[in-house]
Amino acid sequence: MNQRSISERADYLSRRRARMLPALAVIYFSQQVTFLSALGNGPHRGADHFKIGAWVVLSLVLMLALATKGFWLQPKEVRDLIDDESTRANRLDAMRLGFLFACGAALAAYFIAEFQPLTVGEGAHLVLTFGLGAALIRFGILERRAHRDA
């Protein structure tokens, strides 16, 4: 692959990621609606275990996509270029916001637990959902803004 096609490919994938991230965040959050509405209702049923399994897998994939260069099937040159300086800065910014949201969710879980019992799993679910979701949205917004011409 020559330098031109590497650059074009990296630019195309980077744009695609910027479009996809907010959509993924919406899917991720909408998946949580049923879980959050049933908070504190006691042990999960069989169907809930399936939903939680899907949530764990999606969380793991999104976390890896956010924390690494992503695009694991692309050539190394393309992956390195996609993860250039401004992308790394945007990712760090997103991670910082995600961390703050995770802390906020942990505080909220602590507060909720004062009024209704929460399991450790429910608490972890809240922290991960809000931390990861916020980071995804922020990363998507920053990447879209970066692609926009002045």
Binding site: E8, S14, L81, D84, E85, S86, A146, D149, A150
Partner: protein, 68 residues
Amino acid sequence: MLERLANRLKERRTELGLTQAELAERVGVTRKTVNTVENSVFTPSATLAIKLAQALQLSVEQLFWIER
């Protein structure tokens, strides 16, 4: 006092007849990064600033300056 890193990247790039993509290729970043530097959305590292200055045949001080 608020300080901002201003630049004449776009002006110089246009003078040399380069597109954002071509300049990005020369310095080894994506077009997006050149775009954000041009629009002062992103402050480049010293390494990238030097690479950009070299690619545009200017000194770093001629290409970037602090605006107050």
